[in-house]
């Protein structure tokens, strides 16, 4: 998120971070994912705090390396550290991120109560990313990556990914 109240120097770092993509969902930037937890600047030295979406997310090492690379290319001396608390929540994905995710073909996470119903198979609330039908079903709470569940549309019969709430 680039805010007008930020000092110029941090603004610049945020702009660079907005170019770093999540390798698993390459339409989303690390900013969209809400995994940037803080930026500390001291001259050209910059310390970026990131938090993992899932403990075992294999993309985290690559994301940290990509952030380092992007900042190095702009002349910074970067340090990327991982923080665990508070734990990442799917609520931290930005509106822009949710929109891009949907266009990419992944249903964005619902708010928590609705998500529990969807994953318990109680209510059809996840919209098909192909045809927009609400008549969908949970195939498996574990999908192609740690952060996704697998759904299928009962109308167009296509499978699709749903980004889980945590």
């Amino acid at each position: 998120m680039v805010e007008s109240s930020m000092p110029e120097s941090e603004h610049k770092v945020r702009e660079i971070l907005a170019t770093v993509k999540d390798p698993e969902i390459p339409v989303l930037t690390v900013e969209d994912m809400g995994i940037i937890r803080g930026i500390e600047l001291d001259g050209q030295k910059v310390r970026v705090k990131i938090t993992p979406t899932y403990s075992g997310c294999p993309a985290m090492d690559e994301i940290a390396a990509d952030i380092r690379k992007a900042l190095l290319a702009e002349g910074y001396e970067p340090e990327v550290v991982s923080v665990l608390s508070p734990p990442w929540s799917s609520l931290w994905i930005s509106e822009e991120g949710r929109r891009k995710m949907e266009v990419y073909g992944i249903a964005a996470p619902l708010e928590e109560v609705a998500d529990k119903r969807a994953l318990m198979g109680e209510k059809r609330v996840v919209k098909c990313t192909h045809c927009g039908s609400m008549n969908t079903r949970l195939v498996s709470p574990f999908g192609s990556t740690a952060c996704k569940a697998l759904f299928q549309c009962n109308d167009c019969l296509e499978p699709f990914d749903y980004f889980k709430c945590i």
């Binding site: 075992g56 665990l84 734990p87």
Partner: protein, 250 residues
């Protein structure tokens, strides 16, 4: 170094490491695609959690020790996982019963550790419990589905639940380190752990139409480093690269 804290972190990390390894053996061998992916995902979550425990343990240890040293360069008797986690995969009911007991225990343990006075422990627990909530839901739903399924699935699930009951007791046997950690506000209350475990597992088994095994003895030893024969075979596989090419890195 704070020896008690180090030992405690090893206790916390070793069980999910060994269970994660068992689950990873099923990658590409699950009964169908969805369960194969689910079990591999659970293994991945557990390994991520283990890395957090071992990274902290390595820092507590100092002297340049790393998470990899802890995972790959210890001998069998130095691992502190409960013997439940090293039991082999047999059929799917077997895998689910082992996971069900483990998840019920793991969930209650982590929920208590989110209140730990040690901020690093509470942060790792708060992160992990979000993932373990999904694990526990997955294994308990399968217990119900198989228990309340066909005649064949019911028999197999009942047998597996009865078989693994002999490994439950060790989950609630408190070592001196765990007693010390509880006393200092860092660790978990084992009485609460046992009550929560029993109430959750009994409810699921009732829903599944399965008999609750009555057993008054337990297999034990893992938490003291005395393991079943299976652990040696697991480590032979798990540690192969570090033993064959010492110090290798990705």
């Amino acid at each position: 170094m704070n020896k008690s804290l180090y030992d405690y972190l090893i206790l916390l990390g070793d069980s999910p490491l060994i269970l994660g390894h068992r689950l990873s053996e099923l990658c590409g061998h699950g009964p169908n695609l969805e369960t194969d992916i689910a079990l591999s995902n659970i293994a991945l979550d557990l390994f991520g959690q283990v890395r957090n425990w071992y990274q902290y343990a390595a820092e507590v240890h100092g002297e340049g020790k790393t998470e990899d040293d802890i995972a790959f360069l210890r001998y069998e008797h130095e691992y502190r996982n409960v013997v439940l986690t090293e039991q082999p995969n047999k059929d799917f009911a077997w895998v689910i019963a082992r996971q069900f007991y483990f998840d019920a225990w793991h969930f209650s343990l982590l929920s208590q550790l989110t209140e730990s006075r040690d901020e690093r422990i509470s942060a790792i627990a708060a992160k992990s419990i979000k993932e373990v909530t999904y694990h526990r839901r997955f294994s308990s739903e399968w217990v119900k589905r198989l228990g309340d399924g066909t005649e064949e699935s019911h028999i197999r699930m009942q047998n597996a639940i009865a078989h693994f009951a002999m490994y439950k007791g060790e989950l609630f046997e408190e070592t001196n380190v765990e007693k010390e950690m509880f006393a200092s506000g860092t660790g978990a209350d084992f009485k609460v752990l046992k009550t929560q475990f029993d109430s959750f597992t009994n409810e699921v088994l009732n829903d599944a139409g399965l008999e609750i095994p009555q057993i008054d003895w337990t297999q034990r030893g893992g938490k003291q480093g005395v393991h079943s024969e299976h652990l040696g075979y697991i480590l032979t596989d798990l540690q192969y690269m570090q033993r064959a090419y010492p110090g290798m890195q990705w």
